[in-house]
Subunit: 249 residues, 2 copies
DNA sequence: CGAATCGTTGATTCAACTCAACGCGAGTGG
DNA sequence: CCACTCGCGTTGAGTTGAATCAACGATTCG
């Protein structure tokens, strides 16, 4: 099941070169990392809180998300991953996972042994910088989520998540920001935004009625990017998209 | 103003060896990093959003905090730093700061050039791992804050912050978790917890009346650790304190 | 067709916010 | 030394944004 120089890891090499170019040796090293491609069903766990992480996971297709449970049975989604994200860098040097990772949709991922990733990071400084940088960008997104949940009302907060996903999709080359599929239930959106499913429903309705978004089934379209961005108080700086697609948000 | 082998950086070397021991060369490298000791007054900025970060900052004494502004003038504090924290690892590979860092109290810090830190990280893998790991632990704390603000009510949320600070203080060797000074105004606590100052006041009063904490001026004591921890739904796993003081929380 | 899941809507409740007033101690300046 | 201000903490009264509770549609799937 392990491959060498597989085409599967090409997008990973590209992604890691997003901030600053990798040198040729580093690219070759990335491409030849032994890996396993695995498929997950919606709801299936990739990692559970308390587990000792063994793999770094690169999302090939589909969505995954990271969440934590709190005492009263509640759940908080702390990040959402789209194709092209290299998840579990967060666990790379930590002994025990502090969160769960679950497939949101049918998802295909490439898993690479953590030790391989870390060893290569220090063998190839340009790669090491790229990996470390990716993990810092994720941390920056966490900070923005703290601010979003802590200090914005339901309407702004919801709009902000939509803007973020639209922007990240676009930067990852998955299509224009105007329309995208958002395969999350309102329950899940609530868990990501610190709101209830019922209130998400009402908030989406409001955004729809105001002409900021359009909805059909599980897909969301941005009807008016400018207005949505303003409603969201969204600026893309925290995504640190230097070198990626356009930044005009 | 630059020193070599200064005793100032001894605690930094110790801190970085907390997860896994640094090798002797790495310790020597840390101790001899050129640095500048600077003092800040309460409220003074160490870094502003939009700035290009130049230094890594090690907190020698006093408190600092990190925050972001949102559109309506609100502010969200996203982390609080105590002596022994190596802040601004978060900015180490990012071009432009997405947040502000401000002194909470009178604070003394040692500042080290970012390039020096990054170069040493890749020259000494044991050091590189320790630095990367520190930044991942901070990210883990951000995730817990997302969950705390998103899914816990005011009482639990406030108790949780107190538990976290008590625990981190203890792990940093700053004294027992029972009593500690919390030099934050209620306004600032509100900004850290996504609440208003008025509600913080009422919440602290509740915790006091219930016998979980004691207060005098700006200092908080934990009156009953077990009850406070239970109220907070606090477990220390997310702090990843492997190798530090005791973990029985 | 029935079961299950998810979305929608209304009625009601409640946790947290807002507004406002006042207390209090630490400066500070006349 | 007192009067004044200023920042912060405290408390009450009233408001509101979001939660809760509950019912009912819509869609999918075996």
């Amino acid at each position: 099941m392990a491959h060498s120089g597989s085409i599967v890891l090409t997008p990973l090499a590209e992604r890691l070169g997003r901030g600053a170019p990798l040198d040729a040796m580093a690219v070759a090293a990335v491409m030849s990392m032994p890996h396993v491609v695995r498929n997950f069903e919606p709801g299936q766990y990739l990692l559970r809180e308390g587990d000792r992480p063994q793999f770094c996971t690169f999302v090939l297709s589909g969505f995954t998300f990271r969440h934590k449970f709190v005492g009263d049975g509640g759940r908080q989604i702390v990040s959402i991953h789209i194709p092209g994200d290299f998840i579990d860098l967060q666990n790379v040097l930590l002994d025990e996972s502090d969160h769960n990772i679950q497939a949101l949709t049918v998802a295909a991922v490439a898993q690479i042994d953590i030790d391989v990733v870390v060893d290569l990071a220090f063998a190839h400084p340009s790669l090491g910088r790229a990996l470390w940088r990716e993990s810092l960008i994720e941390a920056s997104i966490f900070r923005e989520w703290v601010a979003n949940i802590g200090r914005r009302d339901a309407r702004s907060r919801t709009a902000h998540l939509l803007c973020e996903l639209a922007m990240r999709r676009e930067a990852a080359g998955l299509g224009a920001r105007a329309t995208f599929e958002l395969p999350m239930t309102q329950e899940q959106l609530g868990d990501a935004l610190g709101l209830t499913a019922v209130h998400i429903n009402r908030t989406l309705k409001t955004l729809h009625d105001e002409g900021l978004i359009a909805r059909s089934k599980r897909s969301v379209s941005v009807a008016d990017w400018g207005k949505l961005r303003d409603a969201a108080d969204f600026t893309s700086g925290y995504l640190h998209l230097r070198g990626s697609a356009n930044l005009n948000a």
